[in-house]
């Protein structure tokens, strides 16, 4: 706790686009209310003020993709009583984890003119290196889920965030189903975004990672039956959460099956 008795909050950034941090800043309507309940002690993107730790609650944005970031998450873990992976990069590896299927040196060579300057590792979720108390899914995160989590931490309970399939949420909003036309990832993707994309007529791309207990094998068979190629299916599985264990297993199994067909 800070001297004024308010819990101290920290936001760290690893390899990411800063879009999830921006979502926090986008909460300006309620940011003052949050600021009334917590002390934003360390949030480099928002403020020059950087109070030293320890902090009561820390949010880590981004995937871990270089050795220095491994040290950074370890420090964050030491500094924070509650540590939250903010967004799908931190939670599952996110978009950066798409590179994991290629050899590291090849990725570096493709992207950088001077690969010898780069020391990167496979993109991994924060939980690969330190214990994480909660994850906030999404690319970017959903602001109301962020608030749910902050409120839960402040009153000392486990947050109840949706982990079931997006379809349930989407049907309850009476959206027309996009699956047949688009191969929407909703059936195996975790809800909690308010079915934002399908509500706007756009297929779900799976940015929130797999729903709890998702039938990925069944979904892959279904996509292939609808005419999607094995490569398409693997790409979809690996886009946002390829490093998430159940997705990784499913994608690996599909690739193995293809290679040994």
């Amino acid at each position: 706790m800070g001297t004024n008795g308010k819990p101290h909050l920290a936001v760290y950034k690893l390899s990411s686009c800063a879009g999830c941090q921006l979502q926090i800043l986008n909460l300006e309507d309620v940011l003052l209310d949050i600021a009334g309940a917590v002390e934003i002690a360390y949030f480099p993107m928002a403020s020059r003020r950087m109070d030293p730790g320890p902090y009561d609650i820390g949010f880590v944005e981004g995937a871990v993709t270089e050795p220095a970031e491994i040290e950074k998450v370890k420090t964050a873990r030491q500094q924070c009583r509650v540590l939250v992976a903010l967004g799908s990069c931190a939670a599952f590896g996110g978009l950066p984890s798409m590179k994991n299927r290629f050899p590291q040196h090849e990725v570096e060579r493709r992207v950088y003119q001077r690969p010898d300057w780069i020391h990167s590792v496979a993109a991994r979720p924060v939980s690969e290196y330190v214990k994480v108390d909660a994850i906030l899914r999404g690319c970017p995160i959903d602001t109301s889920e962020f608030l749910e989590l902050v409120k839960a931490v402040l009153i000392g309970i486990r947050p109840r965030l949706a982990s079931h399939s997006l379809c349930l949420e989407c049907r309850l909003q009476e959206n027309g189903c996009l699956f047949d036309r688009t191969g929407c990832m909703g059936p195996v993707t975790a809800a909690g975004c308010g079915a934002l994309c399908p509500g706007l007529g756009r297929a779900c791309e799976g940015c929130r990672g797999p729903a709890e207990g998702a039938n990925l094998a069944g979904f892959a068979r279904l996509l292939e039956a609808k005419g999607y190629s094995r490569r398409d299916v693997i790409d979809r599985f690996q886009k946002y959460a390829g490093a998430e264990p159940s997705m990784a297993v499913a994608a690996t199994a599909l690739a193995w099956e293809e290679a040994h067909a």
């Binding site: 009583r81 931490v153 309970i157 486990r158 982990s163």
Partner: protein, 327 residues
């Protein structure tokens, strides 16, 4: 019309630490007319509300003859119970109930009772024990076989002498293991982490640890008393079924009431059937996820039964072949 799911305020009169992760709450409805109109049957439960956190179904563990207050024995396992553990005497909670079908009290009258409990499962059976103590003439003998994981986890240690001293009551104890007592004492004061769901935070947040739980010293003292009790009441090491060989109650004209982990009740039931008891004589109390308590939210269904309405107490004969029961 009475609002079906709106709880009434109740005052926490007293909080007593029971084990490292379990507390006993004495409650009284804040509105006298509500308290006056409140009665329950042993084995029934209330829905306890901590506003802002949620609601949890918790069995009533006190003497049904006491109309002034009622008690809940609460193990810290989830959000609501953890929040409860942070409250102090004098705090208010929301309560609605009682719900469910309790132990078959009519059937118990005039019969010998074999009561078999495991861990926190003794809580919903305690009202039966207390009714026997108060109305001994209505019942035959009561044999209590009670097992816990370790001495530190035995509930109601301070009541055993009163129970066993009663001429109709016999108590026998078991623990899965004698060790682990130091570890259990060390986790006192907020150690109970609760289950980690996929999004779950396993630790407590910034609101601080559960304050009402017993500290290490209190626990060490309790473990000592529990160890003495174990010696006094034939303490065996092993699952509660190790006590079957010392059992004195014979199946003839007796009724079994059992509550504990489902896997324990399964082996209790199987063991008793093997020893000549009939499934029709055995009553079990099931645990399922209950949210509304009034057979509407659907969560607690098992086959055609709503555990909240048709149970939680069931006759073993009626549920042993249900597809989703562990029996």
């Amino acid at each position: 019309m009475e609002k079906l799911m709106t709880p009434r305020p109740a005052v926490i009169e007293r909080i007593r630490p029971e084990t490292a992760d379990t507390l006993v709450y004495t409650l009284r409805f804040a509105e006298p007319e509500v308290q006056q109109g409140y009665t329950f049957q042993p084995g029934q439960f209330n829905e306890i509300s901590i506003f802002g956190v949620g609601e949890a179904p918790i069995s009533i563990s006190s003497d049904p003859n006491n109309r002034e207050t009622f008690e809940h024995t609460v193990r810290v396992v989830g959000n609501v119970t953890r929040a409860l553990a942070r409250l102090r005497e004098g705090s208010h909670v929301g309560v609605r109930g009682p719900y469910g079908k309790g132990w078959p009290m009519e059937r118990l009258r005039g019969h010998n009772i074999l009561l078999i409990a495991g861990g926190i499962g003794l809580a919903p059976l305690r009202p039966v024990i207390q009714d026997v103590l108060r109305h001994a003439d209505l019942y035959g003998s009561l044999e209590i076989l009670y097992g816990a994981r370790s001495p530190a986890e035995l509930l109601y240690v301070d009541e055993y002498d009163v129970w066993d001293a009663h001429p109709q009551i016999r108590l026998r104890l078991s623990v899965d293991r004698m060790d682990g007592t130091a570890a259990a004492a060390a986790t006192a004061g907020g150690g109970a982490a609760g289950a980690g769901a996929s999004n779950g935070m396993t630790g407590v947040g910034v609101a601080g640890p559960a304050s009402a739980l017993a500290g290490p010293q209190v626990m060490a003292e309790r473990v000592k008393r529990a160890t003495v009790a174990l010696e006094r009441y034939g303490g065996q090491v092993g699952p509660v079924t190790v006590l079957f060989d010392q059992m004195v109650t014979s199946p003839r004209g007796a009724v079994v009431i059992t509550c504990g982990p489902e896997i324990m009740m399964k082996y209790v039931a199987l063991g008793l059937v093997e020893r000549g008891w009939s499934p029709e004589q055995i009553f079990v109390s099931l645990e399922r996820r209950m949210e509304c308590g009034v057979a509407q939210c659907g969560h607690c269904q098992i086959g055609p039964l709503y555990v909240c309405k048709d149970g939680p107490v069931f006759c073993y004969k009626d549920i042993r072949y249900l597809p989703e029961a562990v029996f």
